[in-house]
Symmetry: C2
Subunit: 96 residues, 2 copies
Amino acid sequence: MNWKVIIKMGFQESFKALSDPTRRQIIELLKKQKMTAGEIVEQFQMTGASISHHLSIMKNAGLVTDDKQGKYIYYELNLSVLEEILAWLASLKEEK
Amino acid sequence: MNWKVIIKMGFQESFKALSDPTRRQIIELLKKQKMTAGEIVEQFQMTGASISHHLSIMKNAGLVTDDKQGKYIYYELNLSVLEEILAWLASLKEEK
DNA sequence: TAGACATTTAGATAAATATCTAAATGTATT
DNA sequence: AATACATTTAGATATTTATCTAAATGTCTA
């Protein structure tokens, strides 16, 4: 069996996770395909440790999931968390 | 004439502005009606100076406009800035 | 099993941020 | 004109955050 438990912290964590430009760029990358930590690192001029830190924040916010495959860890976008934020933003326009 | 020039900084500023819980609460308040700085302050346990700081960040992000009327400054929500963010979030789901 | 490789964790540091108090600015009232 | 009121600005401080280097962990391969 291949369980994937997404620990979602909350609204606040999601917004915080989205408020950093590096993390939003990572999201854009993962939009196209899942990638290993190393592949993601290649796209930035930043150490692996820093990217790892960003990935962990995104993971805690429920924005990505990780999938360990031997030496590699694949990161994948989890869009469902965005629904909540999308709904909040939309509600600002709708209701008067 | 009553010009209202909205100085919009950018995507980054908008996200940053939304990432703070106090500022999101202010947005929720202003969703219902425009309010003076003082009325907003009453809703929080925080000094006027701090709220003023938050309001200035929101103003720079284009999220609110201010309207000086004598002693008072009315703050009003400007929803159009949210469109951009809404669109970005939506695009993550749409395009594969 | 020793070394190479992928990634994270620990610890340090600089910059950004939220908050406060006190002072400044501008407007209204008496 | 003097004072009161509404709000912002300035300056200080504590916390958070992004980043780095170095070390630790875990996995593969020769």
